[in-house]
Amino acid sequence: MNTESKPFVILLAEDEPADAHLLEIALNENRILANLHRVADGREVLEFLRRQGPRFADSPRPDLILLDLNMPCMDGRECLAELKKDEALRDIPAVILTTSEVERDIVASYRLGAAGYITKPVDILQFVTAIRMLGDYWINLVRLPQRPG
């Protein structure tokens, strides 16, 4: 359930601008009013959440994290493992959003504590549908813990 005062905050970890743009398109198409922030790799995810450095000094705490698996430097798996080790961050749901359909990646992600695993469809319409269902579930259906500030 969404609260009126605070907009839903999504943190997207994606190194490829073209893919990030696709998510923006899908959110717009579905008229999902979400506050989307993008970082380029796993290391930046942690910096964003911990508000490290001048770039992330004022970053909000996201309601949902969308993680790409293949990123430079710290990839999605390492980032997920770090998140779930951190007491302050482990309750933020992280959903994997990736091109990989390899079974091994799926199993590993859930083991590491992923809240879901979505493969990016090649068809843009299918992708838009997938993001709409994602929005319905996480923004409208699920009740998430209340956040201070």
Binding site: D15, A18, I25, A40, P72, C73
Partner: protein, 556 residues
């Protein structure tokens, strides 16, 4: 395997017999010496006996000879007989030396006209000789009596000889008296009186010396028997020693020697047969040793066969792996090549569409999508190109030889001069030793590493770390059989935990830099295919330093 060994301190029966035999031999030698000595004692007793007889005989002979010379002188009046008479007396009393062969027949030959032989032995009185001969007191007294009687008779004989020399009117009567004095019963009586003690002495002495001889003989017999007994014992001991030796060896010496010779020439095939109950002998232990060696030999041969088999299997597998690798390589090459085609077309058409619609697209979103299509197609083309470069990196392109690294770096710097100028970087190059590799791949190595330094050495605004201008240093050194090259920058560097990952295919440590993440993977593949290696260190003072080693010369 446990061998039944003789406990220390306890010698085998063989040694005991050797010691006993040696002792027995010493005893036997002593017994023989004593026996020989006892035999000599018999001879000495016999000698004494003979000597005694000769001495007595001399006394009797001299008495008879005196009688004969006196009578002959009285009858013939020839003075030579009187001289002989005196000589006999002188020799007997030790006043003249004894002539040679005096104890044999002597005066009969001299009386017959033969010249008296000159004196041989020392002048010793007969009584003195008798005293030295070791006669008993009783025996000596008998002989001394006989001698005294004989001396007493000489008075009669001298009187007779004096009368025979008488001249004048009474001469004839005196001569007759002299002849009567030496032939009458009184004379014969005196003569018998001399012979009586000699007779008794002979009895006494004969009995005594015979006893001595008999005792000596008895002793010699006992000692001889003892010697023979000891000799027999020695034979028995040698025989037992031989038995003990055979028991210790477990067979004859020849047998053991033959087996040892066979084992010595590494022939373990024929088993050694040991008689029952002889297992605890040298031959028995030799049999066990031989069996063990045979077993070890068999196992060794088996292991060798297995190793040969394993080696062949490994060769076969290596061949299979090499074939499989070659297949995979070919597959990857074909795949990359075939993917290039549609990607190239995609890029071409996206560009054409952009050109055709230039200025006619109102919606920014549509223009963005079109840009992304072109951009992604070009990216795909780059990725596939990198895959092809990576696949080809382990194969030489041209002749492998001593490649000039100075020339390779100079060429690369010329090619990159625009970018170097754009980044404002300063590049310093040391003297670089040559490497054993084909020139194109040496160019590739420096190309990738220099490209990386220019790309990642700067952080933003063409400046390096902390706003300092980018500096790139290239140097190299010979290290044993290897030559090591170092390309160092003063950029932000790579954290230690990410340095290995930088060598993975398509691994990128930063985003949005235009790299595909294959460069260092290619560097490592080239270096390793040439027997070298590649890794990353930190430049002293900060920055990234890429190092790679190659063989310096052919012989490796």
């Amino acid at each position: 395997m446990k061998l039944n060994t003789i406990p220390p301190g306890q010698r085998s029966a063989f040694y005991r017999y050797v010691r006993m035999t040696a002792a027995l031999f010493v005893i036997l030698a002593i017994a023989f010496a004593v026996y020989a000595w006892s035999e000599k004692q018999i001879d000495r007793a016999n000698d004494l006996r003979l000597q005694s007889h000769l001495l007595v005989d001399e006394l009797r002979q001299s008495s008879d000879a005196l009688t004969r010379m006196a009578r002959t002188y009285v009858v013939t009046g020839d003075p030579v007989y009187k001289t002989y008479y005196q000589t006999i007396l002188d020799i007997r009393d030790g006043k003249q030396p004894r002539p040679q062969g005096y104890q044999n027949i002597y005066w009969d030959f001299v009386a017959n006209g033969q010249a008296p032989k000159p004196g041989g032995g020392p002048a010793i009185a007969l009584l003195e000789l008798m005293r030295r001969a070791g006669f008993t007191e009783q025996e000596f007294r008998q002989l001394a009596q006989a001698k005294a009687d004989s001396d007493a008779l000489t008075a009669t004989e001298f009187e007779a000889m004096r009368r025979a020399e008488a001249t004048g009117p009474e001469a004839e009567a005196s001569h007759a008296l002299a002849r009567r004095m030496l032939h009458d019963g009184q004379y014969h009586q005196a003569k018998a009186a001399i012979m009586q003690p000699i007779y008794e002495f002979n009895e006494l002495m004969g009995k005594r010396t015979l006893d001595v001889v008999r005792v000596a003989k008895a002793k010699a017999l006992i000692l001889g028997s003892l010697f023979v007994a000891l000799g027999l014992s020695l034979i028995v001991m040698v025989w037992r020693m031989n038995n003990a030796l055979c028991a210790t060896l477990g067979g004859s010496v020849d047998e053991v020697r033959a087996h040892l010779a066979r084992i010595g020439s590494a022939d373990f095939s024929s088993a050694i047969r040991v008689a029952d109950g002889r297992e605890n002998s040298i031959l028995g232990w030799l049999a066990k040793t031989q069996a063990n060696l045979h077993q070890i030999d068999r196992e060794r041969k088996q292991a060798e066969a297995e190793r040969a088999h394993t080696s062949a299997e490994l060769d076969r597998q290596a061949l299979a792996i090499a074939r499989s690798n070659a297949d995979l390589q070919r597959f990857a090459e074909v795949t990359a090549h075939h993917l290039q085609e549609p990607v190239r077309r995609m890029a071409s058409y996206a560009e054409r569409l952009s050109a055709q619609l230039a200025g006619r697209i109102d919606e920014a979103e549509a223009q963005l999508s079109l840009d992304y299509i072109g951009q992604q197609a070009r990216r795909m083309k780059h990725l596939l190109g990198d895959v092809e470069r990576y696949l080809a990196a382990d194969q030489p392109r041209g002749n492998i030889g001593q490649a000039d690294a100075n020339q390779a770096v100079a060429g690369m710097l010329a090619k990159l001069s625009d970018r170097i100028a754009a980044t404002g970087a300063t590049v310093t190059v040391g003297d670089l030793p040559p490497a054993w590799i084909d020139t194109p791949r040496l160019d590739d190595l420096f190309s990738v590493v220099l490209d990386n330094a220019l790309l990642y050495g700067i952080v933003d605004n063409r400046r390096g770390r902390d706003g300092v201008a980018l500096r790139i240093g290239i140097d190299g050194e010979r290290r044993g059989e290897q030559v090591r090259y170092r390309v160092s920058d003063n950029g932000p560097g790579i954290k230690a935990e990410y340095r290995e990952r930088a060598f993975r295919v398509f691994e990128r440590l930063t985003s949005g830099d235009g790299g595909t993440g294959i460069g260092l993977a290619i560097v490592r593949r080239i270096a390793e295919s040439c027997g070298g290696r590649a890794w990353i260190e930190e430049t002293p003072g900060g920055g990234c330093r890429v190092l790679f080693e190659l063989h310096a010369e052919k012989n490796h």
